[in-house]
Subunit: 216 residues, 2 copies
């Protein structure tokens, strides 16, 4: 009995989410905003990479905004604010992912007419966000070599779901005794169509390639 | 309407999980097995720490077994097998946590009468496992300095839920420009009763303290 209810309810939630995601995308396009959804484990470097992109866009005279998704707290939000861009903080409470409805609400708080790009930083993990598209134009998944060389094999779905795969912190590969080439190989097998970039965001390595991949 | 169904269903699932967790604990105690549930983000070092403990127990003539919980794959399971201990692999599919029922099944595959300790490695993230006790005797949460100094503030619930908090990879703190003392301070605020250990598991730092905390 319960099983049936759960399955039906889940289908319902997922299709409702997809519907709102499509609305979000159209809403953003109506305002001329291109958006990117950043996924990835805790501490993989999502916030830092978005900060770097914001600075690159500034130098080009382009305006960005960001949505910070976290279970709790406003650390990432404050980092975006410190970069002088419009930002919205979304705390999911107990949920391990953003959904299209939460993003819809966050869009209400952002000045869509005065921005060119929107970065959406999802809650940090490689499992939950997979079933919940948000309406962004491209999905970017970030992993770091400090997480070990088995990350892709452990979470194939999120890599299949993403357009760009960033393998970050390659400067720490030797200290961690992790070979980034293994992560790259597994990522390519899981999603042959994705753009894969080896990165050291802290020191600027791979950023130019990412700018090109996102057509910024 | 849907909202109501969801809430009731959730309560049902959680209380059913707690009931089975209590059964698991009793089942383990009936066989004289002490068990530990290892939580923590992807790549924080859970598997390596369990491997180190297994070797320490071996040297003391004690026998351990392990349950490897992952969304997909058997990397961690194979690591436990390589250490010559009985192990069970649990793939959760799309779920971002183990639950007591999955552990109950895994226990069927383990020779409980011939082991002293059971290590349960949960799916790697800091959000989902919070609502699902498994029946272990102590919960150990592992974070790493490579995840940034805001980890505790972002996920207070899992730190409040744990008996031992391990702050791992302190050897990389300088390279990551992260101060482990901030993580320690936040952890102590969130859970003043927990045992907090600064650790560099790869090089053996903090292991002795952990052995003491778990009374191995």
């Amino acid at each position: 009995m319960h099983k049936v209810v759960t399955v039906d309810l889940e289908k319902d939630i997922l299709s409702e989410n997809r519907r709102i995601a499509e609305e979000n995308k159209k809403h953003l396009e109506d305002h001329g905003v291109v958006s990117f959804d950043f996924l990835g484990a805790i501490g993989s470097g999502k916030t830092l990479i978005i900060e770097k992109l914001v600075e690159i866009l500034k130098a080009k005279g382009k305006r960005a905004a960001a949505i910070a998704g976290d279970v709790s707290g406003d650390d990432d939000y404050q980092r975006f604010v410190a970069h002088g861009i419009p930002a919205a903080n979304v705390n999911t409470g107990k949920e391990c992912h953003l959904d299209a409805h939460l993003v819809d609400h966050a869009l209400e708080d952002l000045p869509l007419d005065s921005i060119d790009y929107l970065f959406i930083e999802n809650v940090g993990n490689l499992v939950c966000p997979v079933d919940f598209p948000l309406g962004s134009h491209k999905r970017v998944v970030v992993i770091s070599v400090t997480e070990g060389d088995d990350m892709v094999r452990k979470h194939p779905a999120i890599f299949a779901f993403s357009d760009v795969i960033l393998i970050n912190k390659i400067d720490l590969a030797k200290a961690m005794e992790v070979d980034p080439k293994i992560l790259e190989r597994d990522a390519r097998r899981t999603n042959p169509g994705a753009k894969i970039i080896l990165m050291d965001a802290r020191h600027g390595v791979g950023l130019e390639e990412l700018v090109k991949a996102l057509e910024l």
